[in-house]
Amino acid sequence: MTVEEFQQSFRNEIEEIQARITRRYSVSFDEIAAALHASAKKYLMDVLNQTTANPGPTAEARSAARDYFASLNLDDLCLAIACAKGDDAAWEDFYRDYRSYLINIARTMTQDAGAAEQLADSTFAELYGLRESSGARVSKFSFYSGRGSLRGWLRAVVFQLSADQHRQSSRLVQTEEPEDIERLAHAIEPAERQPTSELAYIRERYRAAVADSLERAMAELEARDRLLLAHYYYDEMTLREIGRMFDVHEATISRWLTKIQKRVRKLVEKSLARDHRFNRREIAEALELAAATLDLNVRDYLVQPASEGASASDSSKARKAHLRPSD
């Protein structure tokens, strides 16, 4: 759906939205419509597709669009549109309301006054749009959809720029990622580690089996479950912080994690029995050994997409059996 089609289809809704904006600066109806179209294309694609297929938007589509527009931060969006087009009054307001905030974020991220100033400057440059694409100035503001707050969006933009700067400066001094080096070292290890005795052989067999089963188990988990495990075990987030991310109480997160762990254990044990022909005693010994030696890296298995490492049938079976954390 083009901007014109969108404008034509949802004219009434756009006009309603326009009336709600506190200060419009020099932003025209067409410009607001264009910004809403870009936002809807990102977050309301299904509705737009339905509307394109039909001769006009259905009542449901209109309702969905109205709800979506109403959920946007309209004043922030209008300020962003005005700044993107270079409205002086809008930039004055932006400077007054957000300048010190931007500098504070930059300071928090860099922990260095000079670097913070540089980061803030480059952020302003991006926001103003010093870069040009096909002769037209591209302001970072044009990527703001109004879905979240402008303040939060600015925080994320500064974060992104900060990470980009950090990466660029890191590349100048680092030839190889330490993770890759470690992986190479790990790849050599099994070849070097010749089983010199029966015990060593058993240990290696157990370790490989548990690693394989864990990888399978992680692949069978739902994306949200893997995200929860990653937040708790690798991002060192507290239950409270995770709870805030998912908008639930920390006790709920605790229950979810307990359930996920039970499921991981069940899947691993099942895989050890099915794929590696381990009996109950061997399963217990293998898990105990793996937990004690702590030389497995489950993190790598966690970040793999769910489709990898497990067959489609296995995944569907697992999904049926799996009790969702939110249940």
Binding site: S71, E177, L227
Partner: protein, 426 residues
């Protein structure tokens, strides 16, 4: 919470190699600030949210970015609360009262508190004066001052024709040679012709006793005074023997003394007691040669005590063990630190956390300025301070474990809290 129900073995497997080195901070090429922020602010539709979570589960850089942004958003929310609170306080009567009361917590207002205490003490003086006969009221302007002066100058201003009281005091002085610094010898004039009383504190008492004539209580007060001055038991007995003595004739008075004559006995007695008390304080201050100086100094209130003392260190605390008064402990610590103890970094342990005194801040051992953690500045006793304590009870021991004027840096749940006193700069 989760620890109780955690499967230890699976937990260990998941934690394995957690500390492995990671590459530099990265941002996924597909990182979308708009979507990330909408996700953190929970502004995404459920379907979009599920899709984004699936991406986060598979993309470690994006997940780390989301976690970092969520933490920053939380710190930002706390900071915004701090900024917005004072603005809200600016309006309304209740707010004005709170503001005033809040201002009273500023240490400088200790002076105001002292003024209130002085007023509270002076009110009974006025009440007592009101209870006196009207004739006294009319002439009592500055009576208290004059009475005090009279009590201080027993032999100068009161020109008694009867030397009996002075002789009496002199007798006491002869038996009690304890020197008193309360009154220098130069204050006593030669006209009094009582050289023996000039160098002794108890000499002041008999003159006052003479003014009160047969007042037994005044004599008892004099006896107490002599005790306080270190007078021996024999002197006490001597004072008691003065009780049955016949009342001396009314002394001839100067202009100032005429007004004193209108005071009733009660007031004179009170003046006497006040005088006694002040004399006691005077006697205690110089200390005793028998080693009691330290104890006296520890018990006495010094001007320095009104100023907040630096927090004590474990070593000095143990040294000062047994002293109930914090002011005494602080004073002793100060003395030790000035003279004996070599300078070293003070350390405190609160609720398992170690704090070091760096410059003026009690700094959490875990605090690392190079670590990019969100920082929240909290003004002590502010609304935000109270809200934080209500929200995070775990912060309470660290916030309340220091003096009100101390600046504290605490790292708690991935956030750095900088606690500053009211009126302090961050």
């Amino acid at each position: 919470m989760f620890r109780k129900t955690e499967d230890g073995m699976i937990g260990n497997l998941l934690r394995a190699n957690r500390s492995r080195l990671e590459g530099p901070a990265e941002v996924c090429k597909e990182f979308d600030p708009d979507k990330a922020n909408a996700y953190i602010e929970r502004a995404l539709a459920p379907s979009d949210r599920a899709r984004y979570e699936a991406h986060l589960a598979a993309c470690a850089p994006c997940r780390k970015s989301a976690v970092a942004l969520a933490r920053m958003a939380e710190a930002d929310a706390v900071a915004t609360t701090i900024e917005s609170k004072p603005r809200a306080v600016e309006s309304g009567w209740g707010a004005a009262v709170r503001r005033t009361l809040g201002a009273l917590t500023v240490p400088q207002w200790a002076m105001a508190a002292a003024a209130v205490i002085i007023i509270a003490i002076s009110i009974p003086l006025f009440v007592l004066r009101k209870d006196s006969p009207p004739a006294q009221d009319t002439t009592s302007a500055g009576t208290a001052q004059k009475a005090n002066r009279l009590a201080d100058q027993p032999a100068n201003d009161i020109q008694t024709s009867e030397p009996s009281a002075a002789d009496f005091g002199g007798a006491i002085a002869q038996q009690t040679p304890t020197p008193s610094p309360a009154r220098p010898a130069s204050e006593i004039t030669s006209e009094q012709k009582q050289p023996s009383t000039a160098t002794t504190q108890p000499a002041a008492e008999p003159a006052t006793i003479a003014a009160n004539e047969t007042d037994i209580k005044a004599n008892q007060a004099a006896a107490e005074k002599t005790e306080a001055a270190g007078v021996t038991a024999s002197a006490d007995e001597k004072a008691k023997t003065a009780e049955p003595q016949p009342a001396p004739p009314a002394p001839q008075r100067s202009v100032g003394v005429d007004q004193l004559a209108k005071l009733d006995r009660e007031e004179a007695r009170r003046v006497q007691r006040d005088k006694d008390d002040s004399a006691k304080m005077d006697v205690l201050k110089p200390g005793r040669p028998d080693g009691g100086e330290r104890a006296a100094a520890a018990g006495a209130i010094r001007p320095e005590d009104s100023v907040a003392q630096p927090p004590s260190t474990p070593a000095t605390r143990s040294r000062a063990k047994g002293l109930a008064e914090p002011s005494a402990i602080s004073m002793r610590e100060g003395r030790l630190s000035d003279s004996v103890r070599p300078p070293r970094t003070a350390e405190r342990k609160i609720n398992g956390k170690k704090f070091w005194l760096r410059d003026t801040d009690w700094t959490d051992k875990d605090y690392n300025p190079d670590k990019a953690l969100p920082v929240v500045i909290v003004v002590r006793d502010s609304d935000t301070y109270n809200e934080l304590l209500a929200k995070h009870s775990g912060l309470k021991p660290y916030f309340t474990g220091f003096n009100k004027n101390d600046r504290v840096i605490v790292v708690y749940k991935g956030i750095v809290y900088k606690l500053i006193p009211q009126g302090g700069n961050n």
